[in-house]
Amino acid sequence: MNKMNQNPCLEVNIAGVTWKNPVTVASGTFASGAEYTDFVDLNRLGAVTTKGVASIPWAGNPTPRVAETHSGMMNAVGLQNPGIDLFCKRDIPFLRQFDTKIVVNVCGKSEEDYCETVERLAGEDVDMLEINISCPNVKEGGIAFGQNPKAAEEITRAVKRYAKQPVIMKLSPNVTDIGEMARAVEAGGADAVSLINTITGMKIDINRRKFLLANRTGGLSGPAIHPVAVRMVYEAARAVKLPIIGMGGIFSAEDAIEMILAGATAVSVGTANFHNPSVTMEIVDGIEAYMRKYGFGTVGEMVGIVE
């Protein structure tokens, strides 16, 4: 409470990589950024986290792929992606034009898939990898790894063998004990964890008596689940020493700060981008304003200090 006058420093260090501020986007809500350049100055983001990419192109699920829910939404896109080759040729050079870190989200259906993509990225100019072992919308979209501590530890160890960049393991909230999952990936050698991915939900059209999503179930996101995300970030922060990237229903700077106070070093903004495509910049500004108001000199001073 004692540095009211200094300029707050928004920089954060995640597993040795310095972001200019703690705000990135949740994988899958921002593509590789090109579609948002009208609405967001990508140079203002701490990092851009890309849509999940696999070793080969995936067509994803049939439509409808999204449904609106109360203060939330469900998606079952199914990790449609152009494959690592086109991604490296097109998306990485695009993002490199901007002064922001590049976090590449990697998805796969088997250990080999993940490792192949991670190995391919080892030679690319990207800053961090986020391994999605928690997609609820693809049978082998990694959720098998994401709901079993042993499997999570093993896949982490496997990708680490091939990774040249720091590895963020993205955790699923659809588990009994999020702390156990965080400890598992820490044991496997993860450099950071991000959470929460979406919570599996279902919506039914009662007039047609059919599932609203072609995939039957989808991943629930948005403010509806923010309290669950804050709780899990808090539990994960007390379970491991790794830096945490908190996400889940962050729509405002206040929501982001709640995550940081709960134990996150950085935050990802997801569904909010659909509600207001410029929201990420507003959140960066809001965090700075909060730090000024309460005299925080660095983001680190705020991490996990709730009592």
């Binding site: 140079n43 192109p57 792929r65 999204v66 939404m73 410029s278």
Partner: protein, 260 residues
């Protein structure tokens, strides 16, 4: 970069022009560069509803900076119901214009079908106003509530089909085309998927260039989230799979590009 924003539009007028079909005019700078066939991401003011409703543009009044949308209220407690309750002076967040409209230049010197079905009828109006070839407008309705009829009559030859036969040809828009022995060199169409599927088939048989405006549930509306994809015949260069984004690559597609 980053200079575009979700903007605040002001309701200029609101009118129910048929049972459950509303016409709303909103003031927005987006009118400046809007084109027929494009859509608006309209947000409600209900904090529990996060996603925009994609609504196609019915009319563009550049001089007044006004866009007109004609939309159906899809049920109780829906976003469209909230829109229908808005009055002159109320405001709502929008992103517009979005998507690619109908390619007008393709029609030059030709005879064109402008086909609309149900709530796919409205976008055909601005198209009719901006197309300067020979226009045969075919509008398909459920019943005698043939909304926008007068406006269409002022902008081309109008043929109507109704499911109950109360007005024009009994049946669908293709029945109206056949009954009146109409032919065209190019087709523009918007409406329910079964209708578009039939028109795609018709265009294939008649070997006519055909543009279809597709619909799908959307989230971002700007091509990022990959929610509103449609299947394509060829692998798409952007997605690298047989999918195109309706919001960004469409909503208007050449009928031969897409599987519907």
């Amino acid at each position: 970069m980053g200079e575009r924003k979700r903007e605040t539009a002001v309701v200029v007028s609101q009118e129910e022009i048929a049972d459950g079909i509303f016409s709303m005019r909103i003031r927005t700078d987006a009118a400046e560069n809007a084109a027929p066939g494009q859509f608006i991401s309209m947000y409600t003011n209900d904090p529990s509803k996060l996603l925009p409703r994609p609504i196609s543009i019915c009319e563009i009044e550049k001089e007044n900076r006004v866009l007109r949308v004609v939309y159906r209220v899809t049920g109780e407690k829906t976003g469209t119901e909230l829109f229908s309750r808005m009055k002159e002076g109320d405001t709502l967040p929008i992103i517009a214009p979005l998507g690619n409209g109908f390619p007008l230049d393709r029609a030059e010197g030709k005879t064109a079908f402008l086909i609309g079905g149900g709530i796919g009828v409205p976008p055909i109006l601005e198209l009719a106003k901006q197309l300067h070839c020979k226009k045969q407008i075919v509008a398909g309705y459920r019943d005698s509530q043939t909304f926008l009829r007068r406006e269409f009559e002022q902008n081309g030859e109008l043929y109507i089909s109704t499911e109950d036969g109360s007005v024009g040809t009994k049946g669908n828009v293709l029945d109206a085309i056949r009954e009146n022995n109409l032919r065209a060199d190019i087709i523009y169409a918007c409406g329910p998927t079964p209708m578009l599927r039939a028109i795609k088939k018709y265009a294939g048989e008649e070997k006519v260039e055909c543009y279809l405006s597709l619909e799908e549930r959307m989230a971002c509306g700007i091509g990022a989230c990959l929610a509103c994809v449609c299947r394509t015949m060829e692998k798409d260069s952007h997605s690298n799979v047989n999918n195109k984004r309706i919001c960004k690559d469409g909503p208007v597609f050449l009928s031969t590009e897409v599987e519907i």
